[in-house]
Each structure stands twice: as C-alpha cells, then as structure tokens.
Symmetry: C2
Subunit: 150 residues, 2 copies
C-alpha cells in the first residue's frame, strides 16, 4: 500500500495526473504499478487501477488476474471497481475512500449515486432503443464456435 | 445505433471479442468506433465503450466528450458507465440491456449488484487500511499549483 500511496504522491509532485496510485501484486511481488494519467494522456479512463490492471494482464499474457491482489491509494471509483470485477483478482485493498475523494472534488461518490438512478433521472441522459436488433447479436454469440467467454 | 450493432455482429463473426460495439458521435458524425477486444488483447478493460471513448478523446485532443453522444449495442456495464461519467458526453443510447447480457452469460448485472454491497460482503473481498497516510496526498493535491482538475 505504501507503494500505491507513493505513486499517488509522485503524481501530485510531477503534475502527471490526479492524486491516485495503484499496484498489482502476485505472490508478494509488485508486477504492475501506475499513477493516474487522465490529463497528461487525454484519456478519461486512465485511472491508476485501470492502467495497472492492463499492465499486469499484458505481463501475464492473460485477461484474468485470479491470484493477484490490487492495492489502491483510494477506494476504486465505479469504473475501476467494474474493471476489477472483470479482471477477477483475489483481493482488493484501498486506503482513502470515496468520501475523501469527494472532499478533494472528485466525482467518485457522485458516480456511485448516479449508477443507482433510473436512466431518465441521471445527469447524463440515457435512452434504450433497437433492443430487438441487438438481441440477434446475442443469439449469434450463443451459437458461435469462435467465442471465448470472459 | 445500427453502426454499434454492426460492430458487435462483426466481433462475433470474426471471433475478435465479446458481442458488443460502441460508437461516439459528434455533430451527427461518427468520430470513433470499437468492438469489444477483451480476449484478443488480453485486456479486461477493453470493452467497446472504453476503447471508443479513448479513441474519441485522442482524436479530439481532450479528456472530455462534452458535445458527443455515445451509442452502445448493449447497456454499459458499471466500468463503462463509470468511464462515460468521467468522459461526460451529452447523451448515451443503448440497445440491449444488462439483463439481456446476463442471459448471454455476461457479468454486467451481477457487477451492478455487487457495487451496492458492503466491502466485506462482496465476492471479491475489499478492505481499507492506511487511510491517514493516503489523506496526506489529497492535502498535497489541494495545495498543488500543477494540478489540472478533471
């Protein structure tokens, strides 16, 4: 966790991005580390956790981090928590939490609240249409011999 | 939306990844398009929406998609919805929904449920520690002259 917090601190000092860091650990060894790079990379998805997960997967040649632990300097936002669920690590640790992030003017807590609203009540309007056309794709997927489930 | 569904279909046909597609539209024109690439890229974050958002931001040289619309062949999962909130587009449209994805054996609906559980009740255990050490980073952030809010 100290390494994750150090990455967050380095980020603030260098101006490379937001005050967040994350590391992925396998068998007691750090296999990937990242600070937030949203503003420097012009990439709203470049949160520390997302970058660290991507790098760990690249290193291990897999899209699953089953035996890994992820240490985050702050509680993962919904995007990062979603990424964590898709990567399926063994455990996650975090230091600061979503309310601390909100105090530093980050949207983490706000986004958690928005996710539980109906589509029409969200600050970004969301609308469903063409469901029937899209369902055909899932039928093709179910019948596909090429599919790799994840 | 047809373009997003076509991308999903192309993905199933080619075996490049899951049955999902997304496009980003600005002023009535598609500026980024992507299919899911999780398995082919060994990247659990390579959902269609995430890739399309990253490409649109790269093209526009910004980390915000304020005037854009995002069309998704399926309701965004929590990771992608989080990415959408960080990118802040004007509107989002989707075709199939999280329950349709669950019927095709994807975890979208499951992850939405997990997000609302307490840390200790989640299928991936999560634990907080070293909060005080991490709070110091937020203090540095607040005092920083280099920071770019996002």
């Amino acid at each position: 966790m100290s390494a994750a917090i150090d990455l967050a601190n380095d980020n603030v000092r260098s101006g490379a991005g937001g005050p967040f860091g994350a590391v992925v650990v396998l068998n007691g060894e750090i296999i990937a580390r990242a600070g937030n790079r949203v503003t420097v990379d012009n990439d709203p998805t470049a949160h520390a956790e997302v970058i660290a997960i991507r790098e760990a997967c690249k290193k291990l040649g897999t899209f699953q981090l089953e035996d890994c632990e992820i240490y985050c300097s702050c509680e993962p936002c919904p995007m990062c928590l979603g990424a964590i669920y898709w990567a399926r690590p063994a455990r996650v640790f975090f230091a600061a939490d979503r309310h601390d992030a909100a105090n530093a003017e980050f949207d983490d807590s706000f986004i958690y609240e928005e996710l539980n609203l109906d589509n029409e009540n969200r600050s970004i309007p969301m609308k469903q249409f063409m469901r029937n056309e899209a369902l055909i794709v899932f039928d093709h997927w179910k019948d596909s011999n090429l599919k790799i489930p994840y």
